[in-house]
């Protein structure tokens, strides 16, 4: 059996055979990658071209930076970018703090740990609209907390449709803490216990171990999780569109209005290009960081 496997010629390959092999590769990759090329790359290129005034719908095409100038000149568009950056950053920071705590505590064995490790993943599979509804029933003005406080004469602050997007951040945190916790727990469970035990035996307090051992050793996971959440939240549409105030609105909401209400594909494309470019830059930075870490480890 083993001899038979070894007998398969894999050592010497004639050029004809190599050409045949790469043809097989292309044929096998064609369905999936071809689909993505046609239905993802082509529209994406169209968005970028359209943001520069090319491929315009319903008006003459010509290369221009006019749409970007329009975005920068328009206070609504400008504020939507700032607002999206604001709640994306807020969500990422709050989620990171909460999931660092959660995943560090999940490393401890405690009664019912299995149930908790299943339960905390529920928001992971919950659609964001459902998450919005579930959190809305709790924190809205007519929600359970407000109702519970009412008999004691206590008011409940306006958290939904508020200027500071607190409702948006709350739902996004609810949704993203489990995603981060999954990544961080996986990284933290890979840290050898010898290291943490050694630190403890040398007299470090649990907090010192967490700060000086666990967090630095989890950095690859921390950066990956933060980037993933930040990019996902920056372009989020459904939650900001439901829980956001009339002003300022998220960049995705402005885009959907341009598309659906005004059929202004050019402006939506310019905003979309800004979102995509920012995501691409962040991903590039992330890959560079990973490379450097790998190099340092070697």
């Amino acid at each position: 059996m083993a001899q038979a496997a070894a007998a398969i010629p894999q050592v010497t390959r004639a050029p004809a055979r190599r050409r045949h092999e790469s043809l097989v590769d292309v044929l096998l990759l064609a369905p999936g990658l071809g689909y993505l090329l046609v239905f993802m790359c082509v529209p994406l290129v169209q968005v970028v071209l359209r943001s520069f005034g090319l491929l315009a719908i319903g008006e003459p095409s010509q290369f221009t930076f006019g749409l970007y100038r329009e975005v920068l000149a328009n206070k609504i568009d400008r504020d939507s970018i700032v607002f999206s950056l604001y709640f994306a950053l807020g969500t990422t920071v709050i989620s990171l703090i909460l999931s660092l705590m959660t995943s560090a505590l999940l490393q401890v064995r405690f009664p019912g740990r299995f149930i908790i490790s299943v339960l905390y993943k529920i928001p992971l599979v919950v659609p964001s609209l459902v998450a919005a509804f579930l959190v809305l029933t709790i924190i809205d003005q007519g929600g359970i907390i407000a109702r519970a406080l009412q008999p004691y004469g206590l008011g409940w602050p306006e958290l939904v449709h508020d200027r500071y997007g607190l409702g948006i951040i709350l739902v996004l945190v609810w949704h993203n803490v489990p995603i981060m916790t999954v990544i961080l727990s996986a990284v933290m469970s890979g840290i050898p216990h010898d290291i943490t035990n050694a630190a403890r035996n040398l007299g470090a307090s649990p907090w010192q171990v967490f700060r000086n051992v666990t967090v630095p050793l989890s950095l690859p996971g921390i950066s990956a999780a933060s980037l993933l959440v930040f990019i996902g939240v920056f372009g989020a549409f459904s939650i900001p569109s439901l829980l956001g105030a009339a002003y300022p609105t998220a960049i995705a909401v402005v885009m959907s209005r341009e598309v659906l209400d005004r059929a202004n594909w050019g402006l939506a494309s310019a905003l979309g290009t800004i979102v995509t470019a920012l995501s691409a830059v962040l991903l590039y930075v992330y890959y560079r960081l990973i490379r450097r870490q790998e190099a340092a480890l070697r």
């Binding site: 019912g112 659609p127 459902v130 509804f133 109702r147 649990p206 967490f210 980037l227 959907s256």
Partner: protein
């Protein structure tokens, strides 16, 4: 023996368990219970503040699923689109997943980046591009158009899961089948596909539920003629008009399959399939 470094005593562990369960019940269990209660509110009595529980319960909202045409239609639409998207994704992902999982590819990094892109790209950007493209192709506001856009965002998960499964197939089995004279097609049908069935099942489940939940692309491309359950939920949650009781019913319909997925995934499927689907960017 003692794996923990945060707390070493038994009381500390019980305290930790208590803390975790308190947070879980406030953050997860209570919202779910309140959601179920909203779906059972008696429309004649209503549920107004400061009542903590509804004054009377009824199944009227659930009957509305049959009585209100748009809910029934959205339900039918969602469950019509999901199997088509799943089948399309499986058919496209099988060969590509095989190539990614088993063959030595030259531009592997680029290909992997291409497969990862739809997962990372904000849905609204894709929706803007596909929306204008589909208007030109006459696919806007059609079921076919919605199937195609949902496939764009769900195919990457399927490809990654299938590729991870193919990677785990022992080379011995393939060599043995080849040595016994199997040509490529019977090899695929009788050896490879049965061996990757668990991964295909995991990916299929993931895709099916992903299709039921997909909102942004369906919303931009399908509006207003193709209405799936999430589009309707958006409308009931205040996108069009606020109807909390119907929203609760649609929420429950969307929640049940996802929670089933969770338990199936946790019990039977290997974690690496889901890890392959979700991330490890």
């Amino acid at each position: 023996m003692n794996r923990s470094w945060i707390m070493r005593g038994a009381p500390g562990r019980w305290m930790l368990a208590l803390g975790f369960f308190t947070v879980a019940s406030v953050v997860l269990i209570i919202p779910l219970i309140v959601g179920v209660l909203w779906s059972l509110v008696d429309p004649d009595a209503g549920w107004f503040p400061p009542a903590i529980v509804p004054p009377s319960l009824s199944l009227a909202n659930w009957r509305a699923m049959l009585a209100v045409p748009e809910i029934g239609q959205a339900f039918a639409m969602s469950f019509l689109i999901a199997p088509i998207v799943t089948a399309l994704c499986a058919a496209l992902a099988l060969p590509t997943g095989y190539a990614l999982g088993r063959r030595q590819l030259r531009a592997r990094r680029t290909i992997e980046l291409l497969v990862l892109a739809p997962i990372i790209l904000p849905g609204i950007v894709l929706a803007t591009g596909l929306g204008s493209m589909f208007i030109r192709l006459g696919l806007s506001h059609t079921v076919a158009g919605v199937v195609l856009v949902q496939t764009v965002v769900l195919l990457p998960f399927m490809i990654r899961i299938v590729a991870a499964t193919f990677e785990g197939v022992p080379q011995d089995l393939i060599d043995a089948a080849r040595n016994l004279g199997a040509s490529p097609w019977p090899l695929a049908r009788d050896v490879l596909i049965p061996l990757v069935r668990p991964g295909l099942f995991a990916g299929g489940l993931f895709t099916f539920i992903g299709s039921l939940e997909e909102f942004v692309l369906t919303f931009i491309v399908g509006m207003p003629y193709v209405q799936t359950l999430p589009v309707l939920l958006w409308a009931y949650l205040g996108g069009r008009s606020s109807i909390f009781t119907y929203a609760a019913v649609v929420t429950m319909v969307l929640l049940v399959p996802t929670i089933i997925l969770m338990f199936v995934a946790e019990r039977t499927l290997k974690q690496e399939y889901l890890a392959a689907g979700f991330g490890k960017v």
